[in-house]
Amino acid sequence: MTRPHATAGDWATIVHRLRADRRTLLAIGTLLGMIVLVLVGPLLAAYQPYEQLDITNLVHARPSARHLLGTDAFSRDVLSRVLSGGRISLVVAMSAVFLEALVGVAWGLAAGLAGGWTDTVMMRGVDAGLSVPRVLLLLAILAAVPMVPVWALVVILGLTGWFGIARLVRNEIRSIRRADFVLAAQSLGASPLRVALSHLLPQVSGPVLVAATLAVGQVIVLEAGLSFLGIGVQPPQASWGNIIGDGTEFIASAPWVSLAPGCCLVVVVIAVSALGDGLRDALAPRQLPRT
């Protein structure tokens, strides 16, 4: 039996393949569960994430029925903080990647369609962006801008991460912009804008979706790292990274403070990259089916 080539328009085939892939289903389930947890959890939590419950008697309380994940050095409930911090971490990562994808797709599409010198100049710009280690760039920017608000963190993360997607889109566009169906659309009177948006763009949606999914995992880790260092999400606002940071000082006596957000981070990042791999398998027409 030959499998039909799947494309972004052919959702039935893609959904069918995803449903047959247990690893991806597990990843989707885990992520959906985590998203529901961080969205709904803070509403149900018994304590406020910033609430210092009892600074004299409740510092570093062990996990118990009252405080499932214990309390931290300021007697704050760790579970409440992990849920609220998870919300920030996930929202920051997804928004930043959305921005990455937006800028990357627009840049890549423009360069790929323009060709010639414009393309060369635009892609050398991308090469320059890719040649600077992103972590160093972020450290430099955030060191220069103290106490950065969350929305600005999203913008900074987004604007330092779109280079790879731009290159991906540009290469994809270069390879299909003379495809027969593009010529056919032109021969039937489609305008350049229409060709770009409704004939070329859908062809790159699959690879972009895969790249963006994998990028979410990266950005979660990046944000956690920056927040751990104290230059990302600013306290008292919780994020998984800064909760881990808070806990390191007392890692021997109160390991639960760092452990809880750390585990969440690992689980989410593994699930995101499993989902990215699964999407790639489901979308890739060129690869042989796994049996």
Binding site: H5, D10, G116, D180, A184, S187, L188, G189, S191, S198
Partner: protein, 344 residues
């Protein structure tokens, strides 16, 4: 259909001295080099030649679909329905594409966009050229699918190209080309990618649709069988030039150019038993490697010294016939050549 020679009216399409140049690493090449022909209203002209002779590029020039690094050389003239295609603005050009002149491509699997359903692709053409609403355009697409012989068009309209058979995909392409009732159809090897049984059906469909609409057609093919069935006139292309043009009956009765004769001899015929099919030795040389004088000289069995020193002009033979061969001026050699051909 009236005979083309008797129609004094202005042709629907007129190409004069059309050249296409490509800038390559090895310099400028001219894969289409001075092509001229007319197509009358309601007429079908077949453009015949081997792969690489420039026939598809010629077709693309009509709607100015040549992209960089290729370009239509200045001095080329293309008149369509009284308008100078070479000087049209982008907007006017797009208004002609698909509405007054539409192309049908060889390979519908790649010419249809894989991410849209058959109906959506036809409806897009309608919406590009008219102010039709989504549902009007969709209904028109479904009706068109029915008109090109697709059973249960309501269901098929919602299917994607990969869910359709090769024949059905080509019917969808034809429906896209016909939906605006264009006065010129440009069919680039429309049946080459299909099974033989389906080829005949689709040629009939194209011819019927064309005749019902009184449209003209430029039919590009390398299959002389297709030519005999569908065209009134034939232009034979070799290495970027037209080497012979004639009404279809006259061409089959007495091909003038040695290349045309070779093509005919290479055609398998029902009812004759031959051990092997005749071939023309060699291949079409790539643009840039064309012989300086007669471009066919190195593959021609009749070539003599003149053929490698002097480029033959396109001789007018009367009755709408032309031939780009020195034999026209040398009747003695010509009869000797034909004698030799008859003996072979």
């Amino acid at each position: 259909m009236t005979a083309s020679s008797a129609a004094p009216a202005e042709p629907l399409l007129s190409l004069r001295d059309v050249r296409v140049t490509f800038r390559t690493a090895d310099g400028l090449i001219t894969p289409v080099d001075g092509v001229s022909f007319d197509i009358a209203r309601g007429e079908t002209l077949a453009l015949v030649g081997e792969s690489g002779c420039g026939k598809s590029l010629t077709a693309l020039t009509i709607l100015r679909l040549i992209d960089a690094p290729g370009r239509i050389a200045p001095g080329s003239r293309i008149l369509f329905d009284g308008r100078d295609v070479m000087t049209l603005g982008d907007r006017d050009l797009r208004a002609i594409r698909g509405r007054q002149a539409a192309m049908i491509f060889q390979e519908p699997m790649t010419a249809l966009n894989p991410v849209y359903s058959a109906g959506a692709q036809i409806a897009e053409v309608v919406r590009t050229h008219t102010g039709a609403s989504r549902s009007e355009a969709w209904n028109k697409a479904v009706a068109m699918l029915g008109a090109v012989g697709i059973p249960s068009p309501e269901i098929r309209a919602k299917q994607y190209p990969h869910q359709l058979s090769g024949g059905m995909r080509q019917r969808v392409m034809i429906a896209m080309a016909l939906v605006m009732n264009p006065s010129l159809l440009i069919a680039d090897e429309p049946t080459t990618a299909l099974d033989v049984t389906i080829q005949a059906q689709l040629l009939d469909l194209l011819r019927d649709a064309q005749q019902a609409r009184g449209a003209s057609m430029l039919l590009i093919t390398h299959d002389l069988g297709v030519v005999a069935e569908s065209a009134q006139r034939v232009a034979v292309m070799y290495a970027g030039q037209i080497v012979e043009e004639a009404p279809v009956v006259a061409l089959f009765a007495a091909p003038q150019h040695p290349y045309t004769q070779g093509l005919m001899a290479a055609m398998p015929r029902a009812g004759t038993r031959r051990e092997r099919l005749t071939t023309i030795p060699g291949t079409v040389p790539p643009p840039g490697a064309w012989p300086a004088a007669c471009r066919f000289a190195d593959r021609c069995t009749f070539a003599w010294s003149r053929c490698t020193t002097e480029a033959p002009p396109l001789h007018q033979l009367g009755d709408g016939r032309t031939s780009r061969c020195h034999l026209v001026e040398e009747p003695a050699r010509r009869s000797a050549a034909q004698g030799a051909r008859a003996m072979a």
